[in-house]
C-alpha cells in the first residue's frame, strides 16, 4: 500500500495535470465547474450555456439529454423524463402524488423505475445520462480525461439516495472524489471555509424545491445543525401564482387552454418574473403570440406571491428552532438557486435576519462552484491546507430489534468518518443464522424509519441460545455511505453478510447497467479502463519512489531494495500494457507489498503532526 504524505502547501505531483470538477446534479438543472487560473468557474457547452436541464428524452434511436429533451416535453409526452432526482433511492410508496407526474412509474424491486415509450429506466441511469454529458463537457473543455469529480447532494439525503448518486457517477464513468452536501458546497463557494467561524444559513430556492440549512463552521468542520424545506415549492410556483393573477385580472379564459397553450403562457409569466428580478420597477407581460398584455409592477408581483415567500420563511423559522438558535445568532445568510434573484425574496430574508444576504455569486452556480473548489483541493492542488471538510451524519443509523424497536448505533450528527460496533446474540439453541434490518431515522419504531437494507448472517456455529457473540460493525465513510460487517467472536467465524438494499441497486443490477454501456461504445470503455490503469500505475510508481526517498530509512536495506525493484517493474509494465485487468492486478500487488511501510510512515506522520503543533503553540 502506498501513502503519499505531502507537507501542507506542497502539491504532491506538480507536473501531472489533473482535471477535477465539481458537479451540481440538480432537480431541474445541473452544472459542472472547475478551478481555472485559481478561480472557480462554470463550464459552458458549445453554445455557451452553463445550465444543463436535468431532462432525458428516450427515443427509438437513443437518448437525448438537456435542452433538446426539455424542448420536446410537450410534443413528445411519454418520451421525456424530468425531476428524476426526486426518485433517487426511493420506492414507489415514497413518491408524493405520482399521478401528477407526466410519466409512469413502475414499482419494481426496491427503487422505483420510470416507464417511457422507449424503455424502462432507473433514476440512476437517467442521472448517469446527465452526468455523462457533463463529463464530456469537462473533457472537451480541457481536452483531457477527467481525473475525478465532487458531486453535491442535498444535506437530508439518506444512505440510499447518496448511494444511488454514487452509482450514477460510476455508470457515467466518473471517479467520485467525494460526495458533499449542497449547503456545504455553497458555503465553500463563498470562502466561508477559510477561517470563518460561526453560524450560517443556506437559503436554497430552486425551480421546484426549497431547502434551508443551518450550518455551524469551526476549524474546517461543517456541521449541519438542521435542515428544513419543501420539496414542492420553487420558482415554478411563483410563475404559476403570477399567471393565475393575470388570468383573473384580464379574464384570459384559461379553461379552454390545452397543455401546449398553458405552458406557452407559463413561459411568458416566467419571462415577466425574470425581468422584474433585474431590479426593474415594472415589466410588460406578453401573450404567447408576443403582444403586450399589460404592465406588472414589482409591488404587485410581491403581493400575488407573498404567500409563497411566507412559506419559505416558515421553513427557515422551523430550521432555526430545530437548531436551537435565533435569527440574531446567524453570522451570514447565503442565497442559492435562481429564484433567490427575486427582490421580494431577498427583502424578506434580509428583514428576518436583520442583515443583507450574500448574493454576489450567481445563485444558479454557487453549489457547483463550491464543489469545484473542493475537487481542486482533493486533486492535490495547493490550497488552504488548514481546511478540512468534515461532514456529519444527517440521520441516526440503527438496527431493528425485538418488537420492532430501533436500537440506535450511529447517532445523528456524528462526525464522519465513524465506526461503531454492537454485539448481538442468538436467542434459540443451535441457531445458525440471524436476520438484521438496518434503518435510518429519528423515530423509535423501525416501521416509522427508512429501511436501508436487510442482512442475513449465516454460518454461525450451532451453540446454546445466548452463547454466540456476533459483533456487527457499522462504518460510515466521509461520503456518508454505510458499510456493515459482522463477526462471530467466540469461534472467529466471519458470518457471511447478504445485503439486500431496500431502495438501492444490487451489485448485479449495477454491473448489468454498466454492461449495457449506455452512450458508450465497448472499445471506448476498454481504452478508458486501460488509460485509467496506466495513470494509476504511474502515480503509484512515482509515489513509491518519493516515499522511499523520504522515509526509506524506516526499512531494512533488503526490503528497501525490493520495493524499488517492484516499483521499477510496474513502471515498465505500465508502458507496454495492453490489458487493463493485468495492470490493475500489478498495481494491487505493489499496493500490498508496501502495506507495512505505509503503516509505519502513517504512525510517524501522526507523531510529527502533534509535535509540530506543540512547537507552534510554544512559539
Amino acid at each position: 500500500m502506498l501513502l503519499q504524505i505531502s507537507e501542507p502547501g506542497q502539491s504532491p505531483d506538480p507536473h501531472q495535470r489533473r482535471v477535477a470538477v465539481g458537479i451540481d446534479l440538480g432537480t431541474t438543472h445541473s452544472l459542472v465547474a472547475a478551478v481555472r487560473h485559481g478561480v472557480a468557474e462554470c463550464l459552458p457547452d458549445a453554445q455557451g450555456r452553463m445550465l444543463l436541464p436535468s431532462a432525458v428524452r428516450a427515443t427509438a434511436q437513443g437518448r437525448v439529454v438537456g435542452h433538446d429533451a426539455l424542448a420536446a416535453q410537450v410534443q413528445a409526452v411519454g418520451e421525456v423524463v424530468t425531476s428524476f432526482k426526486r426518485l433517487m433511492g426511493r420506492g414507489l410508496a415514497d413518491v408524493p402524488q405520482p399521478e401528477r407526474l407526466p410519466y409512469r412509474l413502475l414499482a419494481g424491486q426496491g427503487m422505483v423505475s420510470v416507464e417511457t415509450d422507449h424503455g424502462v429506466f432507473s433514476p440512476v441511469q437517467l442521472s448517469a445520462e446527465v452526468l455523462a454529458v457533463l463529463r464530456q463537457r469537462a473533457e472537451d473543455t480541457f481536452d483531457s480525461a477527467l481525473y475525478g469529480a465532487v458531486i453535491t447532494v442535498p444535506a437530508y439525503f439518506d444512505d440510499a439516495q447518496r448511494q444511488a448518486t454514487k452509482d450514477a457517477a460510476q455508470l457515467a464513468g466518473i471517479n467520485v472524489l467525494r460526495l458533499i452536501n449542497e449547503p456545504t458546497a455553497a458555503a465553500i463557494a463563498y470562502g466561508l471555509d477559510e477561517g470563518s467561524e460561526g453560524l450560517y444559513v443556506i437559503f436554497d430556492l430552486g425551480g421546484g424545491t426549497f431547502d434551508v440549512s443551518v450550518l455551524r463552521l469551526q476549524r474546517g468542520l461543517f456541521e449541519v445543525l438542521a435542515t428544513a424545506g419543501n420539496t414542492q415549492l420553487g420558482g415554478d410556483d411563483y410563475d404559476m401564482a403570477l399567471l393565475d393573477w393575470l388570468i383573473s385580472q384580464h379574464q384570459l379564459g384559461a379553461s379552454t387552454w390545452d397543455a401546449a397553450q398553458r405552458s406557452a403562457w407559463m413561459r411568458q409569466a416566467r419571462r415577466c418574473k425574470e425581468a422584474l428580478s433585474e431590479a426593474q420597477p415594472h415589466a410588460t407581460m406578453l401573450t404567447p403570440s408576443g403582444e403586450a398584455l399589460g404592465q406588472v409592477t414589482l409591488n404587485e408581483f410581491a403581493q400575488v406571491t407573498a404567500a409563497l415567500t411566507q412559506a419559505t420563511l416558515q421553513s427557515v423559522r422551523q430550521a432555526l428552532k430545530d437548531a436551537q438558535v435565533s435569527p440574531q445568532d446567524i453570522n451570514g445568510v447565503v442565497m442559492v438557486g435562481g429564484s433567490t434573484r427575486m427582490p421580494s425574496v431577498r427583502q424578506a430574508v434580509a428583514q428576518l435576519f436583520g442583515t443583507e444576504p450574500l448574493t454576489n455569486l450567481n445563485p444558479d452556480e454557487v453549489v457547483a462552484l463550491g464543489a469545484a473548489r473542493q475537487a481542486h483541493q482533493l486533486a492535490g492542488y495547493a490550497g488552504d491546507d488548514n481546511v478540512l471538510l468534515l461532514d456529519v451524519t444527517p440521520l441516526t443509523l440503527g438496527l431493528e430489534t425485538m418488537g420492532g424497536v430501533v436500537e440506535p448505533i450511529v447517532p445523528r450528527n456524528s462526525t464522519l468518518p465513524i465506526a461503531k460496533a454492537q454485539e448481538f446474540t442468538t436467542f434459540q439453541d443451535g441457531q445458525t443464522a440471524l436476520a438484521l434490518h438496518v434503518v435510518q431515522g429519528e423515530r423509535d419504531m423501525a416501521s416509522d424509519c427508512r429501511s436501508l437494507a436487510r442482512f442475513e448472517l449465516r454460518g454461525i456455529p450451532p451453540m446454546a441460545a445466548g452463547a454466540a457473540r456476533i459483533r456487527v460493525t457499522f462504518t460510515v465513510d466521509a461520503d456518508g455511505l454505510l458499510q456493515v460487517e459482522a463477526l462471530e467472536q467466540t469461534s472467529g467465524t466471519v458470518a457471511r453478510v447478504e445485503v439486500k438494499p431496500s431502495y438501492g441497486l444490487s451489485d448485479d443490477e449495477l454491473a448489468r447497467m454498466l454492461q449495457d454501456g449506455f452512450n458508450q461504445a465497448q472499445h471506448d470503455k476498454q481504452a478508458r479502463a486501460l488509460a485509467q490503469a496506466q495513470v494509476d500505475a504511474k502515480r503509484l510508481v512515482q509515489a513509491t519512489h518519493s516515499a522511499l526517498a523520504q522515509d526509506g530509512a524506516l526499512l531494512p536495506e533488503a526490503q528497501r531494495h525490493a520495493l524499488h525493484q517492484l516499483a521499477n517493474d510496474l513502471a515498465a509494465q505500465a508502458e507496454s500494457a495492453t490489458d487493463a485487468e493485468a495492470l490493475e492486478q500489478a498495481v494491487k500487488q505493489l499496493n500490498h507489498a508496501t502495506e507495512d511501510f505505509a503503516a509505519q510512515r502513517m504512525n510517524q506522520t501522526i507523531g510529527q503532526a502533534l509535535s509540530g503543533q506543540h512547537v507552534e503553540s510554544i512559539k
Binding site: N386, T415, P417, M602, A609, L610
Partner: protein, 173 residues
C-alpha cells in the same frame, strides 16, 4: 504513535479529567489534517483504508474526550473500574431512595413550570456536587478511580433524569 494508544496519548494530552478544550480541538484538527481519507485521494484503496482507520479512531477519541461523562467513564475504565460494568447492587441505597423520590416528584410536577424548575434546581445542585467529587477523585494524588466510578455511575442516572426534566419543561413551555 499507533492506533491502539489510549485517547489521551493519541492527542498528547495529560491523562487526567480536567481538560483544556482548545488543546483537544487543536490536536484533533492537526491529526485529521494529516490522516483524513481526503488527503489520500487517488492513492489506492489500501491507502484509503488505512487513512479511514486513523480518521475514525481520531473522531472516536475526540467524541469520547469532549463529553465530561464519557471522559470520566473512560478514565475509570483505564484504571480498571468500569462504571458501566458494576452491578446495580453497587448503587448505594441512599442514592436509589433519592432517585425514586425524584422520579415521583417528576411525575407529580407534570405540566407545572414552577415545580419542574424547583426539581431541576435540586437535581442540578446534586449533579454539581458529584462532578466536583469526580474531578477531585480522578485528578487527586494519588487518583482514586474506584471512588470516581461510584460517582460516575450515579451521574449516569442523574443525567438521564435531567434530560427527562428538560423534556417536560419544553413540553410545558
Amino acid at each position: 504513535m499507533n492506533l491502539a494508544d489510549n485517547d489521551f496519548a493519541l492527542f498528547q494530552l495529560p491523562l487526567q479529567f480536567s481538560l483544556d478544550q482548545s488543546s483537544l480541538e487543536r490536536a484533533r484538527h492537526a491529526l485529521q489534517l494529516r490522516c483524513h481519507p481526503d488527503r489520500f485521494v487517488g492513492q489506492g484503496e489500501a491507502a484509503q483504508r488505512l487513512a479511514m482507520q486513523w480518521s475514525v479512531r481520531i473522531n472516536e477519541a475526540y467524541a469520547r474526550l469532549r463529553s465530561p461523562l464519557s471522559r470520566a467513564v473512560y478514565l475509570c475504565q483505564l484504571a480498571g473500574h468500569d462504571p458501566q460494568q458494576t452491578g446495580s447492587a453497587a448503587l448505594p441505597h441512599e442514592l436509589l431512595m433519592q432517585h425514586m423520590q425524584w422520579r415521583e416528584q417528576l411525575d407529580a410536577a407534570q405540566g407545572q413550570a414552577q415545580a419542574l424548575q424547583a426539581l431541576r434546581n435540586e437535581v442540578q445542585s446534586d449533579q454539581q456536587r458529584r462532578w466536583h467529587e469526580v474531578a477531585q477523585a480522578l485528578d487527586g494524588q494519588p487518583p482514586q478511580a474506584q471512588r470516581a466510578a461510584e460517582q460516575v455511575r450515579a451521574l449516569m442516572f442523574v443525567e438521564k433524569l435531567m434530560a427527562e426534566i428538560s423534556q417536560q419543561q419544553e413540553a410545558t413551555a
